[in-house]
């Protein structure tokens, strides 16, 4: 696979479990821009069982829409020849269930958690975490390993030079379980060992004969250090060599691409890191799908990804109900509805996952459920994206008032600069204001935070592109992928009785002044388009805080977007949502009309 120096036309596909999406990027006037996008059903399953058929179909749609001939006798024509062909073709994949892994470590909150982070960061679904202290009996762990049938196992444990016994014990359990790979039976299950280097010999003695053992550097060489790179890279290599090679048609697809195929969420994670690095910001990204919700974050240069495997808007929508409870969904519904009616509607969406809301009532219900799915997925992310646990920290007198501890979440809503949402319910919401408010309600950002959505979900393709052509990836991301929604300004703190909560003094792009005061519990929006900026001061009042201390004013530069500026005085920690039926409905209707998110009925 050689990457040409001069790249002008790029074709990228993402083979999802239901749809294969192709995008065509061209360099026009020195700038990389999205030209067209095409899609076709994925063809991994019977009766086709060949992923490349769906890829070719999607490319044919791109050809039709762009007028560029890309295929020649069923193959992608490279390099560009006049107005035919493309310079490179790249792809990501989550079809056939994506990459499913089991991870194992000695201490659940230490090496096992680091191993989980490595697997998630590489784009895997973690089926289970086996640890010496996971509360299960040894035979229960063996039973579990035997039944899981993962694509691969990541085994870690112990710092370099530490105890050998515990990690070898885990290897013995794996050996006894004789796990078989999920796809195909003609090869041994890949096991990556990334633990105490002193134990390598014993691990080889135990596992080399019964598995395809690969050894990489310890992912936790010391308690204070986490080095996930080598393990992640090995996961990607094995994903290509073993998992992809077993899935129908992928050998062909691998021959077609000019760079290794990446697992879809791994590619999205790459892109998030690129953006955070280039702009030097803290970012949260969320992709809410039909079956799963992925959350990505970069805080203090640390990347984390979590997958909430059973939180989604169609296949798993009933599980959102099961996990959050009916009450939590109902609190976002701005009208009365019988609980049995709501339950039936939710499970009917689960069994008919491709249906769409036709009425406003259905849309409002769907967006209420989305708030809870996003909130739960973000909660799970916050509790996983933590600083390293088990680390001793030296403290001096200057730390007296700094209560941060090892194992605390890295997700800091105050320092968060940008939230990027994607997935049907956000990207395809009929009004952009709906996507904006769904994300604000679910994530409750504090201080000043920008929000955006991925217009047509091309983050996976751009993620893999960023590994070979960063410039093209970031240009298309900024210009064509990201739709800026606007900025949220939200002080934190709460009040028992509603008093004045925030005073806004802004100079608008027109030169006019926006001056208003919001009471606690109010929400207000000021439309302002993308590339417009308002500057001035916002002062939190009556004990609220915008990040500079209680009641202290903050100088702001606020960017507009397709929705605009949202001033949120509803409070945080806790967020004040009344649980009394009528009051709650009134409040919701006030907020929704302040944001103008629904048409008049």
């Amino acid at each position: 696979m050689t990457i040409p120096d001069n790249i002008n036309v790029i074709l990228a596909t993402d083979c999802g479990s239901t749809t294969t999406k192709a995008i065509l990027i061209e360099k026009v006037d020195g700038e990389y821009r999205l030209k067209v996008r095409g899609e076709a059903p994925t063809t991994v399953e019977a009766p086709f069982e060949d992923v490349t058929r769906g890829v070719i179909n999607a490319i044919e749609e791109v050809e039709e829409l762009s007028g560029r001939q890309i295929l020649k006798e069923g193959e992608i024509q490279t390099p560009v020849d006049g107005d035919k062909g493309v310079d490179i073709y790249i792809s990501t994949s989550s079809a056939g269930g994506g990459l499913q892994m089991m991870v194992s470590g000695v201490v659940k909150s230490m090496t096992a958690e680091s191993a989980e982070r490595a697997a998630l960061g590489a784009g895997a679904i973690v089926m289970d975490v086996i640890a010496s202290n996971d509360g299960r009996l040894p035979h229960e762990r063996i039973e579990r390993i035997r039944h899981l049938r993962p694509d691969m196992i990541l085994l870690s444990g112990g710092i370099d030079g530490g105890t050998v016994k515990h990690v070898v014990e885990l290897a013995e359990l794996i050996e006894a379980a004789k796990p078989r790979p999920r796809l195909g039976s003609g090869y041994n299950l890949p096991v990556i060992y990334a633990g105490n280097k002193e134990a390598r010999e014993e691990i080889e003695d135990t596992l080399a004969n019964v598995t395809d053992l690969q050894i990489v550097d310890n992912l936790r060489p010391t308690l204070e250090q986490e080095r996930l790179g080598p393990a992640r890279e090995k996961i990607h290599d094995l994903f290509m060599e073993h998992v992809m090679a077993q899935a129908p048609g992928y050998k062909k697809l691998m021959n077609m691409t000019d760079a290794p195929i990446m697992p879809t969420p791994g590619a999205v994670g790459n892109l998030m890191q690129t953006i955070a690095e280039d702009e030097n910001i803290d970012v949260v990204g969320v992709d809410i799908g039909g079956a799963t919700t992925d959350v990505f974050s970069v805080f203090e240069d640390t990347f984390n990804r979590t997958v909430s495997a059973n939180l989604g808007m169609s296949y798993s929508v009933a599980n959102v109900l099961a996990e959050t409870g009916l009450e939590n969904i109902l609190r976002w519904v701005p009208f009365d509805i019988e609980s049995s009616d709501l339950r039936n509607r939710i499970v009917n969406k689960m069994i008919r996952p491709t249906t769409i809301p036709q009425t406003l009532v259905e849309l409002k219900l769907e967006q209420a459920i989305a708030r809870e799915a996003l909130r739960l997925a973000f909660e799970q992310h916050k509790s996983f994206a933590t600083s390293l646990k088990g680390v001793q920290r030296a403290r001096d007198i200057s730390d007296t008032f700094d209560q941060s501890m090892a194992g605390e979440t890295l997700v800091d809503l105050e320092s968060l600069d940008l939230i990027v949402g994607s997935g049907g319910v956000l990207s395809h919401a009929p009004r952009r204001e709906q996507a904006m408010l769904m994300m604000i309600d679910a994530f409750l950002p504090e201080g000043v935070t920008e929000l955006a959505v991925d217009s047509i979900f091309m983050m996976p393709q751009l993620g893999v592109l960023s590994t070979i052509h960063r410039e093209a990836a970031t240009q298309v991301f900024e210009k064509d992928c990201l739709i800026r929604l606007g900025t949220s300004v939200a002080p934190f703190g709460s009040m028992k009785k509603p008093k004045e909560a925030m005073k806004i003094e802004l100079t608008l792009p027109s030169g006019e002044t926006l001056s208003k005061t919001l009471n606690y519990g109010e929400l207000s929006m000021h439309p302002m388009t993308f590339r417009e900026t308002a500057t001035g001061e916002v002062t939190p009042l009556n004990g609220l805080d915008l990040g500079k201390g209680k009641n202290n004013p903050v100088k702001v530069e606020l960017h507009g977007g397709e929705a605009g500026l949202v001033f949120d005085a509803r409070g945080r920690r806790p967020f004040g949502l009344s649980d009394k039926g009528e009051m709650r409905i009134n409040k919701l209707n006030q907020w929704y009309s302040a944001m103008n998110i629904y048409p008049e009925e």
Binding site: V44, E169, A176, A291, A318, I351, E362, P599
Partner: protein
């Protein structure tokens, strides 16, 4: 997307069904091509590897791990019995002895000199695979299972719970729009597959369980009742392993929804015949629908011509459809128009729609994603 549609569920009065039956692991197939089998016949066998029980003898014997292999009184590969001594150590010139005993019956598989862990594997567990439907063995999948062929009536449901079962079909409601009430059930329904109309009530399910009914089929069920029966919320539609004593097949969806007239009629016509039922559902990639299979008495050697599957997406004016989402959920109508342009819904989303006329003459707009084609023979 050009190909977005929801294919209808299959309901065939007459079809030649090929049913693949596979063992969970490779094993022995005990039938041959051409054999006529009945639902309860065993067609393949295998043995699942026995459970593994680890035992760490280091602490029990007060030894270091590297001495573990020398303390064993049993060889690797040797059979051991529950409570039998498998390792011992002595101290003070043999005055004090410590022993480790086997926690289970099994075979000694390994002893680790790094950890002192001893692995005992229990005897394999035999697994027998039954035919599940009456039919003829059409193909042998070597060491894995068989493909059975059967001439039958075939009904797919939308959602079900409970695993494979079989029994005689008994329709207890007068029509497809009448609920299956507990008062309609009595002792005569034991071992039967009982069919109702638009709703399976909680009381009826509980009574059916008491009576020993094998399966229940109806148009709808309330989610609250399903939760009551299972004791938990169904999170994702992957079912089949619920242990509730019977199989349930819901043909239309959640709520009170009349069973499709054609489905009800077909079940009524087959009243008194033996059928196989499976509630297993998987609404994900590799979709599995719950089903009722009613083998016919026709000559097994002469496969009937299968009802051709209507190509979904081939919708045109006159096609019968069912709305599968609010506000028209469950209603059946005829397509009158398929406009090509996108149309704005009350939600303001612009989507491809169709116009349909219901039996009461009302003409409505429905997103194409929200209908299912009703396949006709």
């Amino acid at each position: 997307m050009a190909h977005a549609y929801t294919p209808g569920l299959r309901v065939s009065a007459k079809t030649n069904l090929r049913k693949t039956r596979r063992l969970p692991l490779t094993g022995d197939v005990v039938v041959e091509v051409g054999d006529i089998v009945s639902a309860d016949d065993i067609i393949a066998r295998t043995e699942l590897p026995g459970n593994v029980t680890p035992l760490n003898i280091v602490n029990q014997l007060g030894i270091v791990a590297e001495d573990a292999p020398h303390c064993m009184t049993k060889e690797i590969g040797e059979k051991v019995e529950f409570n039998e001594v498998i390792a011992e150590s002595s101290s003070f010139f043999g005055l004090f002895k410590s022993t480790a005993k086997a926690p289970v019956d099994g075979t000694l598989e390994s002893v680790s000199e790094v950890t002192g862990q001893v692995i005992i594997r229990q005897d394999p567990v035999p697994v027998e695979l039954r035919a599940y439907v009456d039919g003829k063995v059409g193909e042998i999948l070597e060491k894995e299972g068989v493909v059975l062929e059967t001439n039958c009536s075939f009904i797919q449901g939308i959602f079900g719970i409970g695993g494979e079962s079989s029994g005689e079909i008994q329709v207890v409601t007068e029509s497809e729009s009448e609920p299956l009430q507990p008062t309609l059930l009595d002792e005569s329904h034991a071992e039967k597959i009982v069919v109702g109309g638009n709703l399976l009530t909680l009381d009826a399910i509980e009574k059916a369980q008491e009576l020993g009914v094998k399966g229940l089929v109806a148009g709808g069920i309330h989610d609250t009742d399903l939760k009551e029966i299972l004791g938990y919320d169904i999170g994702v539609a992957i079912t089949g392993s619920e242990d509730i004593g019977l199989a349930i097949v819901v043909t239309e969806g959640f709520g009170e929804i009349s069973m499709a007239e054609r489905t009800f009629k077909l079940l009524k016509e087959n009243e008194g015949r033996k059928a196989s039922i499976n509630g297993a559902t998987q609404i994900r990639a590799g979709v599995i629908r719950p089903e009722v299979i009613i083998p016919s008495d026709a000559d097994e050697d002469a496969p009937v011509e299968a009802t051709p599957d209507v190509v979904a997406g081939g919708m045109s004016a006159g096609t019968l459809i069912r709305a599968i989402r609010e506000p028209y959920f469950g209603q059946i109508g005829e397509v009158t128009k398929l406009p090509a342009e996108l149309v704005a819904l009350p939600t303001e989303a612009k989507v491809r729609i169709l116009k349909a006329k219901f039996s009461d003459g009302e003409e409505v707009i429905i997103p194409r994603a929200n209908v299912e084609i009703i396949e006709e023979d």
